[in-house]
Amino acid sequence: MVSEITPELVRHLGVLARIQLSDEEVERLTGQLDVIVDNIAKVSQVATPDIPATSHPIALENIFRADEVGETLTREQALSNAPDAADGRFRVTAILGEEQ
């Protein structure tokens, strides 16, 4: 597989990941990711269709518990690290911009 890392793709990935990358960062990441992706793409050489995927190293079963209130944070604890809070809630800036 030929890697297709372009500055446009990196900028788009930054939007998806909610990171406001500068032009200088986009340029640097494009070159670095190109080299890295070229190297790691070799996983597809051995990953043939007959091999099952492993998402988790030790087989897991679903864990059930009684539907009872356990240990929880108080509202004060939950808000104690908030950058901004008001009326017992997290406060953020506008959800929608003017053009939206």
């Binding site: 890392i5 930054g14 990941a17 996983v43 953020v92």
Partner: protein, 507 residues
């Protein structure tokens, strides 16, 4: 008077139990040592301002006749990836600067309950992404063997703290080698438990299917003692295994008697030729194997044909999981908030915050993970990487039908110079080639000192891997080889480390 900082945790615990020394004395000795050397080493991001009060309470309880844990009163350093209620927890990142957790990580809570005395929080690569601690937002840690060299990573702070005698014990976390590779480059001991053997609750997640918390110490017995404190099922971690574990300290004591090497089958991997390693690393590894043979072990060549794909699979699985785990740093509930202008929308604030708060390596891996998970690439990258995990597990399964443990050098080279690989991320990633397969397969691994490399006089570690759930085997084998090597050296390897602490002062 004995220098209390030079004692193993086990020896210090014996003196505490016998009433020969107090926990206040032991804690003060380590705080003094931190003040003396941490300006040079920079193992700690935060030193507790109430460790002496905690120690005094242990002394009071002991004097009152209370039954205390085996390690009660022994100081402990805690990797900053583990959240603590009484000290900031940053995971080495600016985005969490000053963060005070409302709860303790389970391993921290268990350490406190066992009477261990938290000394402080140790430095690490940001969010545990790195092999050198150079990616810490708070400046690198330096290797006590040579202050111009890396202490390994991501847990370089924990390893350097025990290597520089600033703490007898430390907690680490290992996602791709972050406990074992720092042990290798600092002449210390580190063990990554079986996945699920130790709770991850309160360990700030990097890659949830790979992360494991484990002990960082100077001796195998000390690692077993700490593992006994932190291990076992935790209802707060749904991936934590429910089974009862044997005492790992007992396993280490049994191993130190030496008989376990007799007839032990030790696998060496044909596809991981040590010709590719630094000559001194390879020579130290071969010498350690010869010592094992001399004590009755049998060296068997095994095949693990898919290990060479391990690094590639890891650098797809890890960024994919990390990009998801780190989405929580959104400027809303905790951590940094950067507001670019008065009318910024919450989305603009998030993007500006994450650009300002994350370092280069974190951004690199989030972008890589976002790419690997994006439509059109998922099957080729993330899907294939998950298949490689299956293939590596099969390699382990086949190998462990032939041998009891697998041995490798813990890393390809001794400690490299600070700055040497910082601009070449791929070279930094390839440094993890020996440690990554254990995380991908969930099996336990230990690194113990095997000697010094002849060309640079720096420490080398040997890694042992065992089947999942067989952590006790690693303690037996590790302690057996440790006993044989320390005997042949005439003392612990760290006795030969240069003395740090001439410049002094906490930075």
């Amino acid at each position: 008077m004995t220098d209390l900082t030079r004692l193993s945790a086990a020896a210090l615990a014996d003196k505490l139990a016998a009433g020969e020394v107090s926990s206040v004395d032991a804690t003060q000795a380590h705080l003094d040592r931190i003040a003396e050397v941490d300006g040079d080493v920079h193992a700690f991001l935060h030193v507790s301002d109430h460790a002496l009060a905690v120690a005094a309470d242990i002394d009071r309880r002991r004097a009152a006749g209370e039954s205390l844990g085996a390690l009660a009163g022994v100081p402990l350093a805690i990797k900053d990836v583990l959240v603590t209620t009484d000290m900031p927890s940053t995971s080495g990142s600016k985005i969490l600067e000053g963060y005070m957790s409302p709860f303790d990580a389970t391993v921290v809570a268990r350490s406190r309950a066992a009477g261990l005395v938290p000394l402080g929080k140790t430095n690490m690569d940001e969010f545990a992404m790195g092999s050198s601690t150079e990616h810490s937002a708070y400046g690198p840690t330096r290797n006590p063997w040579d202050l111009d060299r890396i202490p390994g990573g991501s847990g370089g702070g924990s390893a350097a703290a025990v290597a520089a005698f600033e703490a007898p014990l430390a907690l680490g976390s290992d996602t791709g080698g972050s406990i074992r590779q720092p042990a290798h480059v600092t002449g210390t001991v580190g063990l990554k438990p079986t996945y699920g053997g130790v709770s991850r609750y309160g360990a700030i997640a990097l890659a949830s299917s790979l992360d494991q918390v484990g002990p960082v110490t100077r001796t195998v017995l000390d690692a077993g003692l700490l593992h006994d404190v932190i291990g076992g099922h935790d209802p707060h971690d749904s991936t934590s295994l429910a089974e009862a574990w044997p005492s790992f300290a007992d396993a280490a004591r049994e191993g130190a008697r030496g008989d376990v090497l007799k007839g032990l089958k030790v696998g060496v991997i044909a596809e991981l030729p040590d010709s590719g390693f630094q000559p001194g690393v390879s020579a130290s590894f071969r010498a350690a194997l010869a010592t094992m043979e001399a004590h009755g072990a049998e060296i068997v060549e095994i095949s693990a044909p898919h290990f060479e794909y391990g690094v590639a699979a890891y650098y797809l699985v890890l960024p994919a999981e990390a990009s998801s785990n780190l989405a929580k740093f959104d400027s809303v509930r905790f951590g940094l908030r950067v507001t670019p202008h008065a009318n910024s929308t919450v989305e603009e604030v998030m993007a500006a915050t994450r650009d300002a708060g994350f370092g280069d390596e974190v951004k690199r891996r989030i972008i890589l993970g976002t790419y690997a998970l994006s439509a059109g690439y998922y099957d080729a990258y993330y899907g294939s990487a998950q298949k490689v995990r299956t293939l590596i597990q099969r390699d382990f399964d086949a190998a462990f039908t032939q041998v009891d443990v697998i041995a490798t050098p813990s890393a390809p080279t001794t400690a490299f110079k600070l700055g040497e690989k910082i601009d070449d991320p791929l070279q930094m990633y390839l440094n993890d080639v020996t440690t990554i397969p254990a995380n991908l397969a969930g099996v336990p691994g230990i690194s113990i000192p095997s000697g010094l490399a002849e060309e640079d006089g720096l420490p080398v570690g040997i890694q042992f891997l065992a089947p999942a759930r067989e952590d006790a085997r690693l303690y037996r084998v590790g302690a057996a080889l440790e006993a044989a090597l320390v005997d042949s050296w005439g003392g612990p390897l760290l006795d030969r480390a240069p003395v740090v602490g001439t410049r002094g002062g906490v930075r």
